[in-house]
C-alpha cells in the first residue's frame, strides 16, 4: 500500500514535468500593466513639479539653481512604484517602464536627475496652471523650490520670486538625526 502510493506520487509529479523557471539565465519579461522604474522624458517635461507634489514617498525633489534652470532628482531607493507621478503628469512625460531588475549595492544607481530649462512668466513666476481644488497643494505648487539634492531632503519652503538667500541657506541644510 505504502509503495503503491509512493509510485502514484511519482507518476503525479512526472505528469507536469519541470515547472521551475530558468530565470536569471533566461530573461523573463514583466507582465502587462506592470509598474517598474519610472522614466522621465526630458523632451516633454515642462517642469511643473506635479510629480514631486503627488509622490507619496517624496522621492522626487526639485531644486531651482537659478531662475531658468530647474534640477529634478528622482531617488528610487524609497519609491513604491505606485505610478501616481505618471498619472498626474500633464504632458505624459513620465513612463512606468517594465524594468524590475534594479538590485544594486549602491543606492545611487537607482536615481535619475534631470535638468530643465524653465521659461518663466515674469509676472507670476510660473506658467503652470495650479491645482485649485486643494489649498495645501496650491500652497506647495507656487513658485520656486529649494529641496536639497545632496541630503535628499524635501524643504517645504517656496518663494514667489527667485531668492538667492534661500538657495544659499538650503545648500547647507541637514536633516536632524535621530539615532
Amino acid at each position: 500500500m505504502w509503495l503503491t502510493s509512493k509510485i502514484k506520487q511519482v507518476l503525479m509529479v512526472l505528469k507536469p514535468g519541470v515547472v521551475t523557471l530558468k530565470y536569471p539565465f533566461v530573461p523573463r519579461p514583466a507582465p502587462e500593466n506592470f509598474r517598474g522604474a519610472p522614466y522621465w522624458d526630458h523632451t516633454k517635461c515642462i517642469g511643473c513639479g506635479g510629480c514631486s507634489n503627488h509622490c507619496p514617498a517624496r522621492t522626487i525633489m526639485v531644486r531651482d539653481i537659478c531662475q531658468e534652470i530647474r534640477v529634478m532628482l528622482y531617488d528610487g531607493s524609497r519609491c513604491t512604484y505606485c505610478g501616481r507621478c505618471a498619472d498626474v503628469c500633464p504632458e505624459d512625460a513620465i513612463e512606468m517602464t517594465k524594468n524590475y531588475e534594479l538590485a544594486t549595492g549602491d543606492k545611487n544607481d537607482i536615481t535619475e536627475t534631470m535638468e530643465l530649462f524653465m521659461l518663466t512668466c515674469q509676472r507670476c513666476g510660473r506658467c503652470y496652471e495650479m491645482e485649485t481644488s486643494n489649498a495645501i497643494d496650491k500652497m506647495d505648487l507656487r513658485g520656486y523650490r529649494y529641496d536639497n539634492l545632496e541630503t535628499r531632503t524635501v524643504i517645504r519652503k517656496t518663494t514667489d520670486q527667485f531668492d538667492t538667500s534661500v538657495l544659499r541657506e538650503t545648500a547647507q541644510y541637514k536633516r536632524p538625526e535621530k539615532i
Binding site: V19, T20, L21, Y23, P24, F25, R28, A30, Y39, W40, H42, T43, K44, C45, I46, P56, A57, R58, D75, G76, S77, R78, C79, T80, Y81, C82, N99, Y100, E101, L102, A103, T104, G105, K107, N108, D109, I110, T111, E112, T113, M114, E115, L116, F117, L119, R175, K178, I179
Partner: protein, 176 residues
C-alpha cells in the same frame, strides 16, 4: 568587488535567515514565493534557516522600526563572520513612505551595513532572484544612475515638431 568576495566566501551555498523588521508582509510573502518550486532558489543552494547562527545571509525586509532596531542589531551580530545583508523592498532600501517618521530609522542601512538593495514594493520574486544572482556573480548589474538634460528650450523643440507634423500633413494630402 563585493561579488568577487562573496564568490570566494560562499562557493557552495547560502543559508538565508529571514528577518522582518516591521514590514507589511508583502515582501515576506514574496520571499516565501521565491522558495516555492516555481522559482526554486534551492538550485543556487539557498535554504531558509530558522536561526541567525546557522545563516550566511540576512534577508531584511521592512523599514527598521524603533522597537525592532535592537533586535535587528542582535540578529546581525549573531550571524557568523562572512555575512551578507540583503535589504528587500522599498522600506529596507530607503525607508519607503515612512523614511522620516518618528518611529522608523529610515532604511536598513541606518541600522546595519547592507550589501545589496533590492527595491520594489513589494519586490517581484524575479527581482529577488536577480539580486541573489547578482551577489553570486551570475548576472551583470543593470541599474545605473540616469542623467537627463534639456539641450534646447522645450518651446523650440515643440515648434519644430509641430512644423514637422504640418509638413507631413501636406505630404499626406498630396498623396490622397
Amino acid at each position: 568587488m563585493l561579488s568577487k568576495l562573496s564568490k570566494k566566501c560562499f562557493p557552495k551555498s547560502l543559508w538565508v535567515y529571514h528577518c522582518n523588521s516591521g514590514a507589511c508582509n508583502g515582501c515576506d510573502i514574496e520571499i516565501l514565493n521565491v522558495l516555492t518550486p516555481y522559482y526554486d532558489v534551492e538550485r543556487f543552494g539557498i535554504k531558509l534557516v530558522g536561526s541567525p547562527r546557522h545563516a550566511d545571509v540576512m534577508l531584511l525586509s521592512g523599514a527598521v522600526t524603533r522597537p525592532t532596531l535592537p533586535l535587528v542589531k542582535r540578529a546581525y551580530e549573531a550571524i557568523p563572520a562572512p555575512k551578507l545583508v540583503f535589504g528587500i523592498g522599498s522600506c529596507a532600501t530607503g525607508g519607503g513612505c515612512w523614511f522620516d517618521t518618528y518611529n522608523v530609522t529610515g532604511g536598513a542601512d541606518k541600522a546595519i551595513p547592507v550589501d545589496y538593495f533590492i527595491p520594489g514594493c513589494p519586490t517581484k520574486p524575479e527581482a529577488i532572484i536577480y539580486g541573489v544572482a547578482l551577489a553570486l556573480g551570475l548576472v551583470d548589474k543593470k541599474a545605473s544612475p540616469i542623467e537627463l538634460k534639456q539641450m534646447e528650450f522645450p518651446i523650440d523643440s515643440y515648434e519644430m515638431n509641430k512644423a514637422w507634423e504640418e509638413r507631413n500633413v501636406i505630404y499626406q494630402l498630396i498623396k490622397d
